[in-house]
């Protein structure tokens, strides 16, 4: 947020002009790290092993407008009979723009009775949250929800 005391508008413009002459646009990153859609895709690939992910069966309950990204309640439920032959093996939750694409992996089994988990997460920015369920037959199902965050988590200064 603050400019170093030595920098001035003139120096800045001079620098910007120099950069323009070179034809290089400096990429200014506000955050030191941010997950990219490619990181999200590779994190999902790690989980699915390349298997197709279908849309449906999964329900992601998360407030669409979040005031404080430091603690966002989230519930994931999956439509499943939860019997010995047909149950949810795992629920994976991902995000798009936190420094890391993973949020949590939750491993359950037929003994759960109900395929539902809840936790509280951090969101560094307004973004898409994706939940993927792995069923006992090896299929993957997913859903995504867009969340607007007014106060971001993760990257504030520690005083």
């Amino acid at each position: 947020m603050q400019q170093p005391p030595s920098s001035s508008r003139r120096q800045f413009l001079g620098l910007a002009g120099g950069v323009a002459v070179l034809g290089v646009v400096p990429v200014v990153t506000v955050r030191p790290a941010e997950a990219t859609p490619a990181m999200l895709a590779s994190a999902i690939q790690n989980v699915t092993g390349g298997a197709a992910v279908q849309t449906g069966k999964v329900k992601l309950d998360i407030p669409p407008l979040v005031e404080n990204g430091n603690t966002v309640p989230m519930t994931v439920s999956v439509t499943s009979p939860m019997t010995e032959n047909d149950y949810v093996k795992a629920i994976y939750v991902f995000n798009e723009k936190n420094p890391q694409p993973n949020i949590g992996n939750f491993h359950l089994g037929p003994q759960a009775g109900r395929a539902q988990i809840a936790t509280r997460i951090r969101l560094a920015d307004s973004q898409k949250v994706t939940a993927i369920a792995q069923l006992s037959d090896g299929s993957f199902w997913s859903t995504s929800v867009d969340v607007v965050v007014t106060l971001a988590a993760c990257t504030e200064e520690v005083l």
Binding site: N70, A112, A118
Partner: protein, 106 residues
Amino acid sequence: MPSALINVPKKARRGDVIEIKALMSHIMETGYRRTAAGDLVPRDIITSFTCRYNGAEIFRADLFPAIAANPFISFFTIARDSGKFEFEWIGDKGFSETASASIAVE
């Protein structure tokens, strides 16, 4: 001082689906924050949570920095027998805590 809050029904009928809630006090430092001096604060999170019901694992979670401080997790299980739920949290810097709760199944 780490402390756990566990919520398990004291009594249940056999075959009931019961909800289990677990909260562990922990800073869950992401490793992406900086001090005013610009130094990165090292990561310090809980990485794994496990619940066993009479010795058998019924639920496990891998946690990442995107889980909020004082991680709260709720999940379900079928009440089969009276006995004990054992909870275990494992994390960075040698963090390891356990807690337990018992249930009477009729």
